[in-house]
């Protein structure tokens, strides 16, 4: 294994590991809103959510 071989191997592996780590970190740490969350955050959705909770506690 020559020095050139070491350099190419380490750079290549580091590049793909680094890129995958960066991407997964961004994916896992960035909050995404689900369609259900969107429904809940709308005024009509909030009203329905309150009604649902009231019904649930009274029941």
């Amino acid at each position: 294994m020559t020095i050139g071989g070491w350099i190419f191997m380490i750079l290549s592996v580091s590049l793909v590991v680094g890129l995958a780590t960066f991407c997964f970190y961004r994916v896992l740490t960035t909050a995404t809103r689900s369609p259900r969350a969107d429904v809940r955050s709308s005024p009509l959705g909030q009203q329905r959510e309150r009604q649902r909770q009231r019904k649930h506690t009274s029941g």
Partner: protein
């Protein structure tokens, strides 16, 4: 039209499903061979160029087109291409996005079953290369021929379907359709959520064993792990002056990422405009590269080199994976059987996550075009792929039927479809509009340089690679068509499947028009 309300269960599940589609046997078997033959470490220069100029731009284009088509209510490649390419020509060219996964599945499921059979052979016996090391290679070759039936046509079906290879094929075939029937989130996504981490774990175990092999045979001191890694990674810059190395790198990136397959376009159609496609696409691509470079680049060639030397370390992917590596595992002794089982389990997982992704686009099309339920579409798709796969099993001599399908559909048509896609995205849909669409909900900004790359560089790069590929390989395959009846009839079979899909697209077109859907992408999505 049966409304397809399916959605992905989670974002990470969807990313792993796309990555699972891309990670296949080529990552572990094809990439190391290509690198070792085309400059070793220096191969990474054309490889990274192709990744940046070809792979990732087309990948982003596919994700964006898929989601755009999905926002208009379509799930299948012909309908989505019709919307993005604004008309009937793009729509019928989109049929390639069905033909490619459908035909590839017909032979890929067979290769997948070989992986499972090898895994079982290592776990429960059945793969015995004897005690004489000088006969390992010959015995390994015999086992491979027995598994594939490559010595004569119909040999695996001659025992009334009780040949072990046929039994494994039937199990794997049924397993694929069971997961497909369960649906997008419960089936494909669930499988990928389990299979991808399991695959990574298997790869780490095998990698750890390979890197700790040292110098197993003191009579050959030059055959050690460092020399094996050197054989794979020592740069030979003289190869960069050879067009073949650039061609090989572009081809490897291109096939490895599963672009031009018709899969990404379908998977992305289940997203909404609030869902990110830029970061998701890059994450799926980077996962594929992780498996290819970090695992494929460090395991296969060094392992083969340590026990068998340089001459046995390069060859066809099939030869390396199913013929050479079993010899390597035999040399490892007792633990070799366990490592062999883990290795073939890993290949099986890589294969099943890919084969599932080939079925879903066609399934979505059958439901969308014919207006039938998922259950009926699964049955119809099962019948079509069963016939095609039986064709490949029967005409097993020299693996001619498999090779013909792989060359004409699994290689050549992928180039054609990717070219159609990137031209539709960059020129018909418009690169400005395309990138604006890609940035809806995006968590990562595509650098503005990619406007130029997507519009000019990628199509030109693709065209040069395609012409080079045709000049290099087409004459041999054309000659085979003249001399080999099986190759000719296999091509006719592909033609019949294409006509059937065109007929179904025509039926779908009529249905979509009757329903008042915007087939030609005249108006923006209403969401």
């Amino acid at each position: 039209m049966v409304e397809q309300q399916e959605r992905w269960g989670s974002r990470i599940g969807m990313i792993l499903a796309v990555a699972g589609s891309a990670v296949g046997l080529g990552n572990f078997l094809r990439f190391p061979g290509q690198a070792a033959q085309n400059g070793g470490g220096a191969f990474m220069i054309p490889y990274i160029c192709a990744l940046l100029l070809l792979g990732i731009p087309i990948c982003w284009a596919e994700w964006t087109m898929g989601r755009y088509g999905g926002r208009k209510g379509f799930r299948s490649a012909p309908a989505i291409m019709g919307v993005v390419g604004r008309g009937v020509v793009a729509r019928y060219l989109g049929v390639l996005g069905l033909l490619i996964p459908l035909v590839i599945y017909m032979y890929y499921v067979l290769i997948e079953s070989w992986c499972l059979r090898y895994c079982f052979a290592y776990l429960f016996g059945g793969l015995d290369l004897g005690t004489d090391p000088t006969r390992y290679v010959e015995e390994s070759g015999k086992f491979f021929t027995a598994v594939t039936g490559a010595d004569a046509d119909g040999v695996t079906l001659a025992q009334g379907g009780l040949h072990p290879s046929v039994i494994f094929w039937a199990i794997v075939f049924a397993l694929n359709f069971w997961f497909l029937y369960r649906g997008l989130a419960k089936g494909i996504e669930t499988v990928c959520m389990w299979a991808m981490p399991a695959m990574a774990l298997c790869a780490v175990i095998v990698l750890a064993r390979v890197l700790t092999l040292g110098t197993p045979d003191p009579t050959y001191p030059e055959r050690n792990v460092l020399s094996g890694l050197g054989f794979m990674w020592n740069p030979d810059f003289s190869k960069l002056g050879d067009f073949k190395a650039w061609l090989a790198a572009a081809g490897q990136v291109f096939f490895s990422l599963s672009v031009g397959f018709g899969v990404i376009i379908n998977y992305a159609s289940y997203l909404t405009k609030k869902d990110d496609v830029v970061l998701s696409g890059l994450t799926a691509s980077s996962t594929n590269e992780l498996f290819e470079v970090a695992f494929g680049g460090l395991i296969t060639i060094p392992a083969a080199f340590v026990f068998l030397g340089a001459s046995a370390s390069v060859g066809s992917p099939f030869g390396l994976g199913f013929h050479t590596l079993p010899v390597v595992f035999e040399y490892m002794g007792g633990i070799g059987r366990l490592i062999g089982a883990i290795w073939f389990l890993m290949l099986f997982l890589a294969a099943i996550t890919s084969s599932l992704s080939m079925l879903q686009p066609v399934l979505a099309f059958l439901m969308e075009a014919l207006g039938i339920s998922r259950g009926r579409a699964v049955s119809l798709l099962g019948a079509i792929t069963l016939l095609g796969s039986l064709w490949v099993i029967y005409f097993s001599k020299g693996l001619v039927a498999l090779d013909t399908m792989d060359f004409w559909v699994g290689t050549t048509l992928i180039f054609v479809f990717a070219t159609v896609q990137i031209i539709c995205f960059g020129w018909v849909f418009g690169v400005e509009k395309g990138l604006a669409e890609a940035h809806l909900g995006a968590q990562l900004h595509i650098p503005s340089l990619f406007r130029f790359i997507i519009k000019y560089v990628s199509p030109l790069y693709l065209l040069i690679v395609f012409v080079g590929f045709c000049l290099q390989t087409l004459p041999g395959y054309l000659k085979e068509l003249e001399t080999n009846d099986v190759a000719r009839w296999t091509l006719i079979l592909i033609g019949i499947i294409l006509l059937m899909l065109i007929g179904m697209t025509r039926r779908g077109e009529q249905r979509w028009r009757e329903m008042g859907l915007d087939l030609d992408g005249r108006t923006p999505p209403r969401d």
